[in-house]
Assembly symmetry: C2
Homo-oligomer: 366 residues x 2
């Protein structure tokens, strides 16, 4: 085991990612295979890996050169997919998930990555990293294949919280815009607020209020507000960031994934149907692979927790090595962009502007 402290001379381009080796559906071997993939592609990445030390040392030793880039932190406890967030908050100390977050808390790593239980990870992130000043509800943001030139849209919240009032939705807009700037390199992202119609009179009361507040914060948030958007705009090109509450966002995410999966399966069946179609699938192999790459959920693996003191990337529980490596890549890009600090500054400036606005209102009233 190499201590990362010995590597300080590696220079300023070194980025440390904290990785929870446990809690994924296919175990630590897959996580180690994933970080090895990333390590080989990118010499700047270093890891702190959390889990049972004996098991992890063996897995890391098998990958040539990985032990030089990867410090192992012993944590014997594992958060399972069945554990309730409330239990994990009380009894989670000593688990690999807790330990992975503590490396970010201590400033040893910039971003944490975990394949574990989403609810537990969010609950632990809230108590270990704490919410940013000015943020009421943190959110989970994901990338969604779209018709936009960047190939993806951002959607949030997809399940951190089932509720969101107008103020929360405004914060999601600010955080989503910051994420799109750093994760998709968009200078001035276009924000859409998810509703059942694009007319301004439609939808629930909190959506109408959120509509006005998001519109009022365009300049502090450095985004363009396109107004209400519909479900069809999530994979579309009318905006770059889709803002919604965690209930609706979670249903939309899983519906979209399920629909894509069904079509993929039916397509495979169609190509296996006759000798002619089997030949066709061979001829179209390159084109189909390009398509699959475009919509493969493993390539956009990683929900990002926004609104905390530190960044957490949640990988799919069922991620394979490619999926884990994609989550690590996302974590690396956000770390290198100094995303956490930029997001904090943006939210703080909006909160300040809102306070100034309130003070102004008070002055007028008195």
């Amino acid at each position: 085991m190499t201590s990362l402290k010995d590597n300080k001379d590696a220079g300023p381009s070194r980025v440390v990612i904290s990785v929870d080796a446990m809690g994924g559906d296919s175990g630590p071997a897959t996580v180690v295979a994933g970080i090895y993939k990333s390590a080989r592609k990118n010499p700047e990445i270093h890891f702190i890996l959390h889990g049972p030390v004996d098991e992890l040392e063996k897995l890391v030793a098998r990958r040539r050169g990985l032990s030089d880039r990867c410090e192992i932190r012993d944590a014997q406890g594992v958060v399972s997919m069945e554990d309730k967030p409330s239990q994990v908050m009380r009894h989670g100390k000593g688990t690999s998930m807790w330990s992975a977050l503590d490396s970010v808390r201590a400033g040893e790593a910039t971003v944490a990555v975990s394949c574990g239980n989403t609810g537990a990870l969010m609950a632990l992130s809230m108590i270990r990293l704490r919410k940013l000043p000015g943020v009421n509800r943190p959110a989970i943001a994901i990338l969604w294949p779209s018709r936009n030139p960047q190939g993806f849209n951002v959607m949030l919240d997809v399940g951190a919280d089932i509720r969101a009032d107008a103020e929360d939705l405004l914060q999601y807009a600010l955080m989503g815009a910051a994420y799109a700037r750093n994760g998709l390199s968009l200078t001035r992202p276009r924000i859409g607020l998810l509703n059942v119609g694009t007319e301004e009179h439609k939808g629930r009361a909190e959506l109408k209020e959120a509509h006005d507040r998001i519109a009022a914060h365009e300049s502090e948030g450095n985004y363009t507000f396109v107004g209400f958007v519909e479900g069809g705009d999530i994979p579309g090109d009318s905006c770059d960031v889709i803002v919604t509450d965690g209930f609706t966002g979670n249903v939309a995410l899983k519906t979209g994934e399920g629909t894509a999966k069904l079509i993929g399966d039916l397509l495979r069946e169609a190509f296996a149907y006759s000798p002619l179609s089997r030949i066709a699938s061979l001829l179209a192999l390159t084109s189909l692979k390009r398509l699959q790459k475009r919509i493969d959920p493993r390539r956009v693996n990683g929900g990002v927790f926004l609104g905390l003191n530190g960044t957490v990337v949640k990988s799919h529980g069922s991620a394979d090595a490619t999926g884990v490596s994609a989550a690590v890549k996302l974590a690396f890009e956000l770390a290198r962009a100094g995303f956490a600090d930029r997001l904090a500054a943006r939210v703080a400036s909006a909160a300040e502007a809102a306070q100034d606005g309130a003070a102004e209102e008070d002055r007028k009233r008195s």
Copy 2:
């Protein structure tokens, strides 16, 4: 113009569908082409067609034999896609939409079909047909391509109302089960309640209450309740009917449609990419057509309004002749099954059971 009254001798297998010729994106010519398609396939169907008589007579006369099966009712007004439901409720008299609903109200036709403005059609349906006794909020149900043997699942509400409390969700379960029995020929449909997780402790308070109420009405409703389901189950095989509020259902519907459309477009691009992939697409043509047929939204065109005294089928505004014909086919099947009466009976019996339960409670308390 032939009056339908002259055709009474056509026997008991005659089904009359009332069709709004106006309000669709591509005008009455497309609607007439659609009903002509249906008329040629199915000798039992007859139509009452509503719209400007001069225009419609010319369009119908061009289709051989259609005028014998189609009575035209003059209505000069048109409800546009931009009209607000509240305006249409006040000033909608004299429009083709109003007239189409009145044929069902008067018992001349069993089901009405319209490609027009959904909000206006629901608002007019509520005032012209009135809600069934025991129904608080009517719902719009659609068919969704799925992995189930019947090829489709039912989802409701997809946008009649943006709110739904526990009692409304129970009524949706009863109405959705009735629709699945008559529209998909399932003896005992499996009902799932849409949530962000399948664990019983998850989700909003009204969902937990709805969970218990839907479970308690399994026998009156003649369905099996599978509990909470997630977005991925909408195209899945874990249940046949997905119950949700109109906000969530509308977002899910449009997200699924948008995702399917994006994949379809990318697939076409992939096949057009190289000479080899263009040859492949020719070889796989039959298989791809089979796939397309399976997931073509035109083939499942038609949201059904449930909970009214009479059945209304809402076709996509952008439907072409194939889409209109699919909506007419659905209307025909529901009419032939005596769906409206069966649904009314089921809702009434559940309301009675609930009343009996309440009386029983009162007796116990006194």
